[in-house]
């Protein structure tokens, strides 16, 4: 067995740039996913508001029920059939963000519904309107419960972002494959890429644990 990491070393600046693109795509997707997830999650709290609930439920079941890669291809290769040509980076961020939003919405909904019913009753009986009670009382308590599952979601998203390499986006995966295509050193390159993803995902995990501890210090966890 011979190992030769020299193509990885000589291509390190391309890999670093790819990692940066991966971070950019993922960060954008996380931000978009959180916004979409919050809105969709709130929309799925009350089944009696049929239209909103139905639309949000349809979104979740479609987006969660089809492969991310298919969705990304629809954005990038499908829409041009209607004359809609979007930049690859935009397709990557929006495609992943919308996909993640479906999962985040379930995290949001679950966390909000896990807050004791008495909290809403107490807030409303002080005279707070529903939205104020949500904003001041329910959501702040729900946020801390969202963090562990959000951590999972963010980490999954970092790893799934390797799919955007198939949209011609020059992310970490894409740069790695470029190195392989000239050096044929696939094992070494994939190991190197895996290490970078490993560092990115674990840094994210650490950061979120930190946030959780900080918020939890307020006595929010009983």
């Amino acid at each position: 067995m011979d190992f030769d990491f020299s193509p990885v070393w000589s291509g390190w600046s391309d890999l670093a740039h790819g990692a940066l693109i991966t971070v950019e795509v993922t960060t954008g997707a996380i931000a978009l996913g959180c916004v979409i997830g919050l809105l969709i999650g709130l929309g799925r709290l009350d089944p009696r508001r049929r239209l909103v609930f139905g639309a949000c439920t349809a979104y979740v079941s479609f987006v969660r029920g089809t492969p991310l890669l298919v969705q990304l291809f629809i954005w990038f290769f499908g829409l041009p059939h209607f004359g809609i040509n979007l930049p690859a980076f935009f397709c990557g961020v929006v495609g992943m963000g919308m996909y993640s939003g479906a999962y985040v919405s379930e995290i949001v909904r679950g966390a909000i519904q896990s807050v004791d019913r008495g909290q809403m009753e107490a807030a409303r009986s002080l005279g707070m309107p529903y939205r104020m009670a949500m904003r001041e009382i329910i959501v702040p308590q729900a946020v801390i419960r969202m963090i562990p599952p959000l951590g999972n979601e963010f980490i999954a998203l970092i790893k799934n972002s390797s799919l955007v390499s198939l949209l011609t986006i020059a992310d970490l995966m894409h740069e790695g494959q470029k190195i392989i295509s000239v050096s044929y050193r696939s094992l070494e390159t994939y190991l190197a890429i895996a290490l970078v993803y490993f560092v990115l995902t674990n840094l994210t995990g650490l950061a979120l644990r930190r946030v959780e501890r900080k918020l939890g210090a307020g006595g929010m966890l009983q």
């Binding site: 004791d116 008495g118 909290q119 009753e121 107490a122 807030a123 409303r124 009986s125 002080l126 005279g127 707070m128 309107p129 529903y130 104020m132 001041e136 009382i137 702040p140 308590q141 307020g218 006595g219 929010m220 966890l221 009983q222």
Partner: protein, 255 residues
């Protein structure tokens, strides 16, 4: 001639069902200003539901309900949301399970509603809150989080939180039922002091000694109706109904 005194709470023919179960079956009920009305009765008699109807946490199906001169329910029709919110600001509620806001300090719990709803500045709200916390004996706990308090302390904070909105009437839903026996006294003392200041109170409780000592009127509920009501001496010493006697006997042998 003084104008006739209007009741703070006035229910007529109030009905409420949960599915097929009729919980309130035509309730006539008054609470006069500065009156302490204690509602007793076996569990499942509808007393908590009646109380919760009085601030719109439950929606009555039929009959009428007036609170603080405003019609909350008329022929089963509920006040619209905006007006209901305004009404609730005048009706303090204390829950069996406290329902303090765990993400806010004690001070935060007592100030959040006055600041957001009455438009008080932080300084004004803090001053009021400190005065009220003083009154319930918890001045030294202002910066504590609810999670660190005992049940009795939590319930006293909950009372201060409700009082901070300067309500015209206070509703108590079994305020001591979730407390360890040794903590019941501190909450009842606060409630008694409040009654002494002339606060209008409606109290659902199993504390018969409290009812006897503090109530102006005791109402006995059973199976969704008010069996009888009157001054505590009458209810406890010469109850009219056999059901009342049975209930009082059951409670006294339990204790």
């Amino acid at each position: 001639m003084n104008p006739p005194v209007k009741p703070i709470i006035r229910a007529r023919g109030l009905t409420k069902s949960f599915g097929p179960v009729a919980v309130l079956r035509g309730i006539d009920f008054d609470v006069m200003p500065s009156q302490v009305k204690v509602v007793i009765g076996p569990s499942g008699s509808g007393k908590s539901t009646l109380l919760r109807c009085c601030n719109g946490l439950e929606t009555a199906d039929g009959g009428s309900l007036e609170i603080c001169g405003q019609t909350l329910v008329d022929a089963g029709r509920m006040l619209p949301d905006a007006a209901l919110n305004a009404l609730r600001m005048n009706v303090g509620m204390v829950f069996q399970s406290f329902n303090l806001f765990p993400h806010l300090t004690v001070l935060g719990n007592v100030t959040v509603a006055p600041r957001k709803l009455r438009g008080l500045s932080a300084a004004e709200a803090d001053a009021t809150a400190r005065r009220l916390l003083d009154k319930v004996g918890l001045r030294d706990k202002t910066d504590a989080y609810p999670g660190t308090l005992s049940g009795g302390q939590k319930q006293r904070v909950a009372i201060a939180r409700a009082l901070a909105m300067q309500p015209q009437v206070m509703l108590f839903d079994e305020p001591t039922s979730a407390l360890d026996p040794e903590l019941v006294g501190e909450v009842l003392r606060v409630m008694k002091a409040l009654a002494g200041e002339g606060m209008t109170m409606m109290v659902v409780t199993h504390e018969m000694a409290f009812a006897r000592e503090v109530a102006d009127v005791v109402a006995v509920m059973d199976q969704g109706v008010v069996l009888e009501s009157g001054p505590p001496e009458q209810i406890f010493d010469q109850p009219l109904h056999a059901r009342t006697r049975e209930f009082l006997q059951a409670v006294s042998t339990r204790a």
